[in-house]
Symmetry: C2
Subunit: 386 residues, 2 copies
Amino acid sequence: MRKVAVIGIGATRIDEHWDKSLRELAGDAVLSAMSDAGLDRFDALYVGNMMSSPANQQQHLGTYIADWVGARGKEAMRLESACSSGSAAFRAGFIAVASGEVEIAAVVGVEKMTDSPGSEITSNLATAAHADWEVDQGISFVALNALIMQRYMHEYGWKHSDFANFSVNAHQNAMNNPNARFHAPLTAEKYEASAMICDPINLMDASPIGDGAAAVILVPAEHITRTGSFPLVTVAGSAAASDSIAIHSRKDPLWLSAAEKSSRAAYQQAGITPADINLFEYHDAFTIMAALSLEACGFAERGKGPRLALDNEIGLKGRIPVATLGGLKARGHPVGATGMYQITEVVQQLRGQGGASQVEGARYGMSQNIGGSGSNIITHIFTNAA
Amino acid sequence: MRKVAVIGIGATRIDEHWDKSLRELAGDAVLSAMSDAGLDRFDALYVGNMMSSPANQQQHLGTYIADWVGARGKEAMRLESACSSGSAAFRAGFIAVASGEVEIAAVVGVEKMTDSPGSEITSNLATAAHADWEVDQGISFVALNALIMQRYMHEYGWKHSDFANFSVNAHQNAMNNPNARFHAPLTAEKYEASAMICDPINLMDASPIGDGAAAVILVPAEHITRTGSFPLVTVAGSAAASDSIAIHSRKDPLWLSAAEKSSRAAYQQAGITPADINLFEYHDAFTIMAALSLEACGFAERGKGPRLALDNEIGLKGRIPVATLGGLKARGHPVGATGMYQITEVVQQLRGQGGASQVEGARYGMSQNIGGSGSNIITHIFTNAA
């Protein structure tokens, strides 16, 4: 396996892009990453997308986007693992380059969720849950997470307000990210007062959907002469794990075993421990997922995730900065694109391009992308160390 | 890159499986491949599927199927490139094992097209074509192929009846395949007399859809001691290429440039020429695609594909045996599973397990899987040579 470098990143703003089609969003991100890398070609394209079939009546996105960006003829495919599709595409591109099979890979995560004929978001999202054992019983994705959060609060004695800072911190960091969906500060009071969706999850516990695309260019690190004004960022760890799709099938619904497995494998590959991670782009689709991710990845003890939020150890100067450019909560969650937003943001931080959200002196950044309610979790560690 | 061996194969019959769900079909194929390999575990699962989102209201098939076959916790993902999804999954699994990232990979192609709430096949298939430039204009997938066939007959002077033997040969070979959808012989007269679908494509030019799954187990070849009663089959070549999705965007709609590119790359990797290929599991979704594939892969001159059928050079004892176990035409075409059926059949032949359809003395077998109307083509070459 060759060491792999991320030499280009690009992303669109997450928004309701009524003036842009799926291919235009993906194209903007890929061309921007190519321009950032200073390359005018690539050998293979890996596309992460969850719901273009129902939402846009278009599948076959590998070929579709390759052609649109002027790469007709190149190898192209789509990866799908629900909301972790973006990171699944990255991992496929990473392995292809690491193996020697591909020299220059482009990876893009894209989702066009609004203003499309098939934009019935709740039912589209539900295809990530178990059709027979969950969805046919009438449960939605937010309801599944509400069950988990309800149980978590009961087991460990947390109040709803204890989760406030996960969302407040995300909104604050998003102020510094021009690509974020929201640029509105949030207070703990506003968090508590927001509309209930599915008890105990209220509007400010939940991340917003949106349209967007984020892309990277990957090459073997050995080919790169470091001439830029920022350090070269390489992949130090990459791992994926699964769990049951249906939550009721798990021995412990309050433990993200796939996050534990994939983060442990990634730490081992990178030769580090959780204490070495300088920032963590986690999958805060709901505040309960923020808490569970911190625990499963070794940043908090079991049942103590909210403590990190209450003590603001998750802030930019805290013990483990998270959602440094807004996270899913405030940057937004265009589902199949999210993993690639997380990765481009980690690279920004390790390049020192985090702007007012910069985590000073960051050497190791981790991204973690969750498909389903913890049923497919992909973890990547990046570094700017030589 | 390590040499990769296919040590297990398994498949269900292609049929209208009203008594089996998508996960049961996939599970049957994976467990059968594991049993054939003599293994009770794998490290990662790659699923090829095109249309489970509309047809089965279930995405996230990697995790979904891994859990069903008792592999909860393992890495799992889905690959999609329309009708070449099966081979895309195989290629991802192949690269993962070749790279050293994965030791034992399971790959399954699965499609459940009938008896499902979302089984509107024509519109589901149309998501492989261009939503704006083709489908919104009212054209279906068979109509796109009819345009190509019409033009081909016009340019090169072939009559419709000249294509008969592509289908007659496929039906004859399917008689020897218990997994085939059809076990009914076809004559040239019946071919010509069958119902018109979209001029010049009639019912016997077109492959049938169906429900089915086919799977393999992949491991590094270096780990295998050959103790079985059949030779070890390894991957000698693997390549993928794309073309425009919309046919009108191509310089020459009668030339499968992605088939040419991917087959040339695969020949080069295997160190062979078309003359060394002993059997070719091609993508005869329509008879016109059979002719175009033979030409683009170097088995016939441009415009002369039907000559091979007329001279029966495509029969089991011919110059280039094709569809040896029925092909898409008679084995059936459960779209995202088809590439994996082709691959399991090539492995059967190279093991000498072709039964009455055995190609005697076969050393090199090729599979080629087409997504869209020639817009994504993945070619694999297998060998039983040491």
